[in-house]
Symmetry: C2
Subunit: 252 residues, 2 copies
Amino acid sequence: MSNDRIWTAALIVIGDEILSGRTQDANIAQLAKWLNLQGIRLKEVRVVADDMDSIGEAVNALRVTNDYLFTTGGIGPTHDDITVDAISAALGLSVVIHPVARGILEEYYATRGGVTEARLRMARVPDGAELVENRLSGAPGLRIGNIFILAGVPHIAALMLDGLNGKLEGGKPLIARTLGCWVAESEVADLLSATEKAHEGVQIGSYPFFREGRVGANFVIRSTEMPVLDACLADLATRLSQKGLEPVEDGI
Amino acid sequence: MSNDRIWTAALIVIGDEILSGRTQDANIAQLAKWLNLQGIRLKEVRVVADDMDSIGEAVNALRVTNDYLFTTGGIGPTHDDITVDAISAALGLSVVIHPVARGILEEYYATRGGVTEARLRMARVPDGAELVENRLSGAPGLRIGNIFILAGVPHIAALMLDGLNGKLEGGKPLIARTLGCWVAESEVADLLSATEKAHEGVQIGSYPFFREGRVGANFVIRSTEMPVLDACLADLATRLSQKGLEPVEDGI
C-alpha cells in the first residue's frame, strides 16, 4: 500500500435538535480536528433526523465509500435514542446486551439507584460490537466494523475520541497554514489561482470576512508535505507584497 | 392539497473549511430557525467538499426528495468557488452571465475598481436562474427551480434569507416548548415515553446536560397544534411533579 494513500472518514450527526436549530452542532468541527491529527480526512457529513430509515440509509451509503464512519447522538436511555437499533437494522444484525457494558453500567449506577430497564438500554449493541471507553458517564461508545458510534453531547464524544487516539490507521496529516490580507478576495482571485497551479499537491482556500468596516480574506494553504507548504506560503506572500498588499502570517 | 401537508427542505453546506474543522458552521442552525418560521422542516443536511462530483451528487439526491433545497458556500469570485458550475452540471444546464447580476456588480464596483474578470464570475448562473437579492455586497444569491443558492458567510446568507421571507409556500409551523429538570434522563425515560404516547401528534426530545456538577435534562415538546402542545406540556409537568421533581418552564 502506497505511503500516499489518503484515508477518509464520514460523519453522521443524528438528532432532531440539530435539524430544528435548537442546538448548535459542535461535533463536526471537533471530529474534523481530531481526524486531522490521525491523518484521516473528513470527506462528508450528513445530519439526519431521529428516524430509523434516515439513519440506516445514511449508514449504508457512507460506510462503504469511506475507510471509517462516525456517528454522534442517539445512544442515551430515552425513547428517542434509536441509533443502535437503526445501525443494527442497516447492517442486518440483531441487538444484544453487551455483558461488559452491562457491568460498567451496574458499577456506575450502584450508588445512583441501580440499573433500571431504561438504563440497560445503554448496554444494547449491534451483535459483535466492541466498546469504546467513556471515562465520564459510564455509557460506552461502540465500534462495529468500520463504524464508530459516539455520544451526541460534545464533551462526552471528545472523551470517546480520546480513547481512540492513535488507534486508527491513517496517512499523512494534512497541514494548513494561513495568510491574511486586508483585500477584497476578488482583487486577488487570479493571483491565488496562479499560485495554487504553480505548487503541485497544494490547495488554497479563500475565506472572505467583513470586520471593522473593512473587507479582508484569509488564504488557507493545505498540503501533506511541509516543504511544499512552506514554498507555497512564501510564494503567495511575495506575490501579495508585489501587489502592494501586506500579508499577515497566521491570518487576520 | 391537505392543510396538514408537511413541507420539507434539505441543505447542502459546501466547503472544505467546514470539513477541515477550520470554520465552525453557523448556517445549519440559522437556516433551520428561518425554515421553522416559514412552516418548512429541515429534513437533512449534507456537508460536502469543494468538489464538482460531491456537490452534484448531493444536489441530485436531495432536490427530488424535498420541496426545497438550499446550498451555502462557494459563490464568491475565487478559483475554489465552484457551486454554480457544479449545480449547472448536475442539472444539465449551461452556465451563462445573468445581465441583471452583471448590472448589480457594475454598480457596486463602480467606485471599487470596476468589474474584473474574477468579479464577473459572481454574475455566472445556471441558465434560467433568478436572482435572490443581497443588499450588502452586491453578489446575489440564486434560485433555479426548487434550489436556492446562498452565500457561505453566515450574515450574508441571512440577508438573502431576509429577501426570501414569506415567499416560499409552507405548512403549519412546528412549535416547540421546553421543560427542564435536574434529573438523570434515565430516571424518567419510561415517563417520557408514556407521555409522548398519550398525546398524538407530539414528539418529545430529551437532551441531557452536565452543569454545576449536576446532571439534568431539557425535554423539548414539538407539535404543529398549540392546544395539543399545551396539554402535553401540562401533563408532563404533572407527571414529573408526581415523582417529586421540579420541572422548570422554558428549560434550564
